[in-house]
Symmetry: C2
Subunit: 223 residues, 2 copies
C-alpha cells in the first residue's frame, strides 16, 4: 500500500477526506495540529476519527500560532455570528494552510510518502485564500524543489478531493463512505461541553450542507 499523509482537523471535511484516501487504498497517516485554537476540542474528534477510519498513525503537532495574533480563532477576539459571506473573515489564521502543508510535507518525506490529502473546499467555504486551487498548485510546485525526495525525482501530489464539491455533496460522500458524522466537530466557538454554537461560519456552512443534502446532522447545537 502507498502511504499518504492526511490533514485531519476533526471536522466534517477532513474526516470525509480521510475516508476518501482510505477508499483509494492509501495507508493513511493522519496529522492534526494543536495551534492554540479556541476550539481545541476538535483534537478529540480528530483522535476518534483517526481510529474509526483506520489511520495507521495519528500525529498531533504542537505549534503555536498565537505568537503572531491576528485571528479570531487564536487571539482573544469574538468569533462573528450569523455573518456568512463578504470577504475574508477574521477567523482567517494567517498562512495556516501553508504551515499545515509544510508539516505534512516534512512527514511525507520521512515516511517516503508521495501523497498528501487536504480537505479544503472552494465552493461552500469561508473565503480563505489558502483554500483555493491556485494555492494548492503553487504548493505542489514548491514541494517539487523543497525536499530531498523532490530533488531526487519523487514529486509530491497534493490531493484536495473536496475542492469542487458543495457542502451537501460532502455530506453525501461521507455517508456513502460510512463516516460516523457524530464524531466530527466543526464549530469555531463551542460551549465548554463541546456543544456547537450553531451560529459561526463553520456551523452555518455545515447546517446548510446537511439541509441541502436532506440528511439529519447527528451533532447537537446550542441554538
Amino acid at each position: 500500500m502507498n502511504r499518504a499523509v492526511v490533514l485531519l482537523s476533526g471536522g466534517l471535511d477532513s474526516a470525509t477526506t480521510l475516508a476518501i484516501a482510505r477508499d483509494n487504498r492509501f495507508e493513511c497517516y493522519a496529522l492534526s495540529f494543536d495551534y492554540g485554537q479556541r476550539h481545541r476540542i476538535e483534537l478529540k474528534a480528530a483522535k476518534r476519527l483517526a481510529e474509526a477510519l483506520g489511520a495507521r498513525e495519528h500525529c498531533v503537532a504542537a505549534i503555536d500560532l498565537r505568537i503572531f495574533g491576528g485571528s479570531a480563532l487564536t487571539a482573544d477576539l469574538d468569533v462573528p455570528k450569523n455573518q456568512l459571506g463578504g470577504g475574508i473573515p477574521i477567523t482567517y489564521v494567517p498562512a495556516r494552510n501553508t504551515i499545515f502543508l509544510s508539516y505534512a510535507l516534512a512527514w511525507a518525506e520521512v515516511l517516503r510518502a508521495a501523497d498528501i490529502f487536504i480537505g479544503v473546499n472552494a465552493i461552500d467555504y469561508s473565503g480563505y485564500p489558502d483554500c483555493r486551487p491556485e494555492f494548492l498548485a503553487a504548493f505542489e510546485r514548491l514541494a517539487a524543489v523543497a525536499t530531498k525526495s523532490g530533488v531526487e525525482g519523487g514529486a509530491v501530489k497534493v490531493h484536495a478531493p473536496l475542492i469542487r464539491m458543495s457542502k451537501a455533496d460532502i455530506v453525501r460522500e461521507a455517508v456513502r463512505l460510512g463516516v460516523d458524522l457524530s464524531l466530527t466537530h466543526s464549530c469555531y466557538d463551542p460551549r465548554p461541553d463541546g456543544t456547537a454554537c450553531g451560529e459561526c461560519d463553520s456551523c452555518l456552512l455545515r447546517r446548510k450542507g446537511f439541509a441541502d443534502a436532506g440528511l439529519p446532522d447527528p451533532i447537537r447545537y446550542a441554538k
Copy 2:
C-alpha cells in the same frame, strides 16, 4: 520605515542577513525557532544578536520537528564529522526552510510586512535542497496566492542576500557591517559549554570562510 521579518538562527549567515536588512533601512522583526535542535544553544546567540543588531522584536516560535524524526539535527543520530561534500547529508531536516518561511509569512502578514529575509546560501553550503534559488522563487509564488495580503495585491518578497556569496564574502560583509561575530554560533554538535566541535559540516564551512577571508574567527573550537 518598512518592516521586514528576518529569519535568525544565531549563526554567521543569519546574523549577516539581519545586518544587511538593517543596512537597507528595514525595521527588523527577528524570528527564531526552537525546533528540538540538538544545538539549541544557538537560540541564546540569536537573542544576543537580535539585541546587538537592533531588531525591533525577537520572536522564538516553539515548534516540534522531532515528531517526524529523520534528521541528525533533531533525532538521536550522530552528526557526521569531517565529511563535507557528497550529496544531501543526514543533518538535513525535512522541509525545514519551508516550515520556517511559512511562519515568517504568517508573521509578515500580521505585521503588514512585505519583505522576508533568509540567510540561505547556494555556494558554500551543505547541499540542502531548500537553500536554492529555485526553492525561494517557488515560495514567493506560493506566498502571492496563500495569504489575505497576497490576494489583496501585496506581494511578499523573499530576500536572500547571501545566496550567491562565498563564505569568505559573507565573513567580509559581516565585518564591514560591524556584526560582532563572537556572538554567533554555527556548530551543529556543540559541547555542553557551547564550544564548537570544529568538525561538523557547519564548523568546516565556517572555518574555511574565515580562512579564505584571511580573518580570525573569534569563537573557540574544541578541535
